[in-house]
Symmetry: C2
Subunit: 336 residues, 2 copies
């Protein structure tokens, strides 16, 4: 089986490929070939149990690039390539070019010309809860309407519709997964409006200060990077018959307020960690975040076997296990 990860250099792409490299299998079948593709050439793992592994530079929004990627004849494509919300909002053309046209070019390059004219390529598409926005219910049901309030969300929603249409027509075997906000994101603080949700956990856990720009009462929808990887792997295991005509699924997650995040941090790392959170209200960030989903009732995904953490404590635990593995970091946590 040939597996291709588009967006292989990103945080989730790297974790997904690391997971595949652990066993050399996807859903029990041996991976004979793994291709990592991104606009900057991903790092190629040196030692691996997968016989053939390649890292390539590819920007599917450029003419001919999607066809070149498709000519590698992958059996399964994880499509994680996108520009993020802030950039898509700042640059209208770039957002539509990369997030919509890139996806469309990929689907057109991978699809069969007619139904039944060959085996279907499995396409697992990274969508987002950004397809929802505005004045939403506390727990959004699966049959809730698409209400993006960012260009990024609109582009993801449009791509979902095309993925569903091509899948319904029997031209690809597509599934879209609407990722919760991934928390705790490893690495350095960034300028994303959502960055503080990770920052107020990640920084205090290593003894550093973090800024909290919104009120404690803000509620949002989270899953760990580890869960995100499992969503992609599980999505690749589902058949078109299981997924049906609406292949875009809101993933499970944890609905937590900032106050609940902070109490989970206190249970994991004590008052000293919590004291490192500095409140600096920021109206711009507060306004952006007020338009985000607070929670979902992802009944379809759950019934199809998708699983996430069930408490924010588990999300912190996953971060500690996966990211704070050095003895110095563990030492800090133990004595905090």
């Amino acid at each position: 089986m040939h597996v291709l990860i588009l967006g292989g250099a990103g945080m989730i792409g790297r974790k997904l490929s690391a997971e595949l490299l652990k066993t050399g299998k996807l859903n029990g079948a041996a991976i004979s070939r793994l291709t990592l593709a991104d606009v900057i050439k991903p790092e190629k793992p040196l030692e691996t149990i997968i016989p053939r592994i390649e890292a390539i530079e590819a920007d599917i929004s450029r003419p001919g690039e999607a066809a070149r990627v498709a000519s590698l004849r992958p059996d399964v494509v994880f499509h994680l390539a996108a520009i993020v919300s802030g950039e898509a909002e700042a640059n209208l053309e770039k957002g539509y070019t990369i997030n919509l046209d890139g996806t469309r070019a990929l689907l057109d390059a991978l699809r069969r010309k007619e139904p039944g004219s060959g085996p279907l390529t499995k396409v697992v598409f990274a969508s987002s809860i950004a397809v929802f926005g505005g004045n939403m219910p506390d727990f959004i049901p699966d049959d809730y309407y698409l209400t993006p309030e960012t260009s990024y969300g609109a582009q993801k929603a449009m791509s979902e519709l095309m993925l569903a249409d091509y899948t319904r027509r029997g031209l690809i075997d597509g599934i879209g997964i609407r990722l919760p906000t991934i928390c705790v994101r490893p690495g350095k603080p960034n300028l994303a409006a959502s960055g503080f949700f990770s920052g107020i956990i990640r920084e205090p856990l290593i003894g550093q200060e973090a800024i909290l720009p919104v009120a404690d009462t803000v509620r949002h929808w989270f899953a760990s990077p580890r869960s995100a990887v499992q969503f992609f792997l599980h999505a690749a295991s589902l058949t078109p018959a299981q997924v049906g005509l609406y292949p875009n699924l809101t993933m499970p997650g944890v609905s937590a307020t900032v106050a609940e995040q902070i109490e989970a941090l206190r249970r994991a790392a004590g008052d000293k960690a919590v004291a490192l959170i500095k409140r600096e209200p920021n109206e711009v960030i507060a306004r952006i975040v007020s338009g985000w989903a607070r929670g979902f009732n992802p009944a379809r995904a759950t019934s199809l076997g998708f699983k996430a953490e069930t408490s924010f404590d588990q999300i912190i635990e996953a971060h500690i296990e996966d990211e704070l593995a050095t003895s110095a970091q563990k030492e800090h946590l133990a004595t905090s």
Copy 2:
């Protein structure tokens, strides 16, 4: 005010332009210029109270054509240009090219470069209840998810999302109206799967046989051509503040079963007319129609002042008044 109708040669386009030509006004403001555009040059009215009127050939899905249309600097654009459901299903590329790319090219040509860099063009977009499909509630609420089960429906839904995004960004002043099945369509029988809904009324009213390919119990959502024209005119009168962030609205209509259609026909034209309906069950048509919406609760549109017929009798009455105006036809009806 310069009004442009794209798809001006189609049934609704012609009725819409005829309505504008009656008064020479749109929402109380004088129309100084009217442009009718279509892939085949629309007929140009000879006598008119509008000072300047032009009919042009334009296919907005071709390179440069949308820019040429936009260079005419219309203040209001009614965008009715599309290929229909059956053709979009038969020809994947053509459907996406005309229904999605054409709309996108138009929006990109009409939009401001930055918010506030000039007055916004009002764009009234003809969407469709085909954005819904499958196993739906009897009365679909405004916050129901998009479930197209045709490529046409997917293309309309994608166009809606782009229209909403550009409107939210302040680049156009867009509104999308999801038309019910328009009934009674004037003219000759056609091969559209929905054709019989009109045929079983239209043909018997002029003493001709009509085929009914589905069961009496089939329920669907209707409005007259007259209501469709009023939807477009009313949509053009609404401000962005009234429409808000979700400018795509399901229009009001009449939810009626085939049996209710037939009883309304009996009340309008007697048993002799009803006897002209021949039952010829067709499984293909029955299966297609089984995936169509049965009814809506279009609360948002209603609260914004959109109005349609409230009974199927009124829909037949509108057809008789608007289409059967010749004395011979009236005579037939009076003696039937």
